[in-house]
């Protein structure tokens, strides 16, 4: 383990606290910046798609991982963002305005969902958001005059002050920039007063209120922030798809998003990104093996779902901290080699604690 040598309180507030962090994050950024030069067009599109998923996952992580509010309906927020963005652009609003506006519109919907469900927690919130997801998909499909129904809506090509962003490389950089901005903003928010209030609500609502956290306000704020970020992801997703239909934002998408944050590791932004990589890359990995292995060796349907489900179950049973937890352990193994002990990360034993009375 390393300890930073701190001489001022401000040292504690730095984004990158170790010299090695500068190197590793710098290297990561460099790799991401030169990636378009090396990667083929198809895979570049897929990586950009993972960035979009990661933005949405950061949005959901803020709500579920940090504030402890379960949402099984974030696919609907993604949809609201996508449709809002597509409709704004169809009505001549320039891209730079439309994308944040879509985020704000989705945040408003988030408030509309979050405020009435303040009293609900855990299970009931999960079910309510699930119902919300189904209702939104249904409304998108049936409000033909606005959304084009199940035929969908064609999305205008994005451009920035007349410079087209529709090409693969341009779109890749666009998604990368938005993701970096969102992660940075979320990181700053979550390690300041507001973020601590979120975490307090997650761990003990009673104590949070006793220390002055306005429960209703912060829960609604968490919903707004989370929905807003997911809405921005929705706007980018709309461009990625080119033509949006309600099915793209249904129950399955909602569950995929939850899968990302759980497999990634609740309560960590790195986890959100890792989870998005997992969910976004798995179909490509399967496709790769389908090409390599003899024909008919892999079943044509269902394999993806089985792996998603199986991996989710295995993580919950054996690594509840998700990919992020695994990452931290591997890092510790190298840093303390050869002194790493499994016990370092041993969890305290948990006992059945009723949540019926929350």
């Amino acid at each position: 383990m390393r300890f930073p040598f701190i001489t001022e309180y401000r040292d504690d507030l730095r984004l990158l606290r170790y010299r090695s962090d500068w190197w590793s994050y710098g290297a990561l950024l460099a790799v991401l910046l030169v990636l378009p030069a090396v990667l083929g067009r198809f895979y570049l599109g897929e990586v950009a798609f993972i960035f979009v998923l990661a933005i949405a996952a950061v949005g959901l992580m803020t709500l579920t991982g940090f504030t402890g509010l379960v949402s099984l309906g974030h696919g609907a927020f993604l949809g609201v963002g996508a449709y809002a963005h597509a409709l704004l652009m169809a009505n001549g609003v320039p891209f730079v305005v439309a994308l944040p506006a879509a985020g704000v519109a989705t945040a408003a919907i988030g408030v509309a969902v979050g405020f009435p469900t303040l009293r609900l927690s855990g299970l009931y919130l999960a079910i309510a958001t699930l119902a919300f997801s189904v209702i939104v998909e249904h409304v998108l499909g049936h409000w033909r005059s606005l959304t084009g129904g199940f035929l969908g809506l064609t999305v205008q090509r994005p451009d920035l002050f007349g410079w087209s962003l529709a090409g693969r490389t341009e779109f890749y950089y666009l998604c990368l920039a938005v993701l970096a901005g969102v992660v940075l903003a979320a990181r700053n928010l979550l390690r300041s007063e507001t973020g601590r209030a979120f975490i307090a609500l997650r761990d003990s609502e009673t104590a949070a209120a006793a220390f002055g956290v306005n429960v209703a306000w912060y829960k609604t704020l968490a919903f707004a922030v989370s929905a807003g970020v997911t809405g921005i992801a929705g706007g980018l997703y709309a461009h990625k798809l080119g033509h949006i239909t309600p099915e793209a934002f249904g129950l399955f998408t909602s569950l995929e998003l939850v899968l990302m944050v759980v497999v990634g590791g609740l309560g960590s932004l790195r986890g959100a990104v890792l989870g998005a990589i997992f969910v976004g890359a798995l179909p490509q990995v399967i496709a790769f093996f389908r090409d390599v292995l003899p024909k008919g060796f892999l079943p044509t349907t269902g394999l993806e779902l089985t792996l998603y489900g199986g991996i989710l179950v295995l993580f919950l049973l054996f690594e509840p901290d998700g990919l992020n937890g695994r990452w931290l352990k591997i890092k510790a193994l190298f840093q303390t080699f050869p002194l790493y002990r499994r016990r370092t990360f041993q969890r305290t034993k948990t006992y059945m604690r009723s949540e019926r009375y929350r």
Partner: protein
């Protein structure tokens, strides 16, 4: 530092009268202990003062402010902090973050300033850290600073909860069974810390406690509740000899 005055407090839950017409006052800078058998309504008094639920009748005044109808999150801004008998810590956050959250009532920056890390947000953050570090030093919690609360031993968690309450810079501190589950050494430490907080910071302290030894050691005055009613009031020595109190504790009919 503020006093607390409770007048004619009554509350019942589903037909059970938890408190019946309870009145008492705590002077600024005083240490008052509330004792009584289980189910006497001691914690209920705390829950009413911290506004977790509404009283059926009566008023609660902190300093010169009527807090009977405040929302539960407005209590912290009045300067009242509390601990919980079954620990309500933020388990999956570090000790430092637990202490920093207690500074919530003193927050000064806006959401936008926090996202952009504007100088105002940074100044507030440094100020909070300074205060939290002072409490960490006072309670000798340095080695736990960045540990996750859930992984700490019970005694340490109790101490963190006390420290967290102190981070609010309270004018009135409510401690709900701070000695429960502590070993003798930790208990002696606790007695010292309670007296120390009052003597150095002047904080008014109300204590709910079963450990009569600790109560006798630290309190200026003791209040005995039995069955939701005020049974006796006085200095620890007087209370220890009061026949009604002895009867209530030993279960003899009076």
């Amino acid at each position: 530092m503020i006093g607390l005055a409770v007048r004619g407090l009554s509350v019942s839950f589903g037909g059970v009268r938890a408190l019946r017409d309870v009145s008492f006052a705590v002077a600024p800078g005083e240490i008052l202990s509330i004792v009584g058998p289980n189910g006497a309504g001691k914690t209920t008094v705390f829950n009413l003062v911290s506004r977790l639920f509404d009283a059926d009748a009566g008023t609660i005044t902190a300093g010169d402010r009527d807090i009977t109808y405040l929302a539960r999150h407005e209590i912290a801004a009045v300067g009242i902090a509390r601990t919980f008998q079954n620990l309500e810590l933020f388990d999956h956050a570090s000790v430092l973050d637990n202490l920093l959250l207690a500074r919530h009532a003193h927050r000064q920056s806006t959401v936008v300033a926090q996202i952009l890390r504007l100088p105002s947000a940074m100044r507030a953050e440094v100020e909070h850290r300074l205060r939290a570090e002072q409490v960490i030093e006072r309670f000798e919690l340095e080695r736990f600073r960045s540990a996750t609360v859930a992984n700490l031993p019970y005694g340490a968690r109790k101490l963190v909860e006390f420290a967290r309450a102190l981070c609010l810079e309270p004018k009135l501190l409510l401690l709900d069974e701070p000695a429960a589950g502590l070993n003798p050494e930790e208990r002696a430490d606790l007695a010292f810390r309670i007296a120390d907080v009052r003597d150095e910071l002047g904080t008014t302290i109300v204590l709910v406690e079963h450990d009569m030894g600790l109560v006798g050691e630290v309190s200026d005055r003791v209040l005995v509740l039995n069955d939701g009613q005020l049974l006796a009031e006085g200095t620890p020595d007087v209370i220890r000899r009061d026949p009604a109190v002895i009867a209530a504790y030993l279960g003899a009919a009076t």
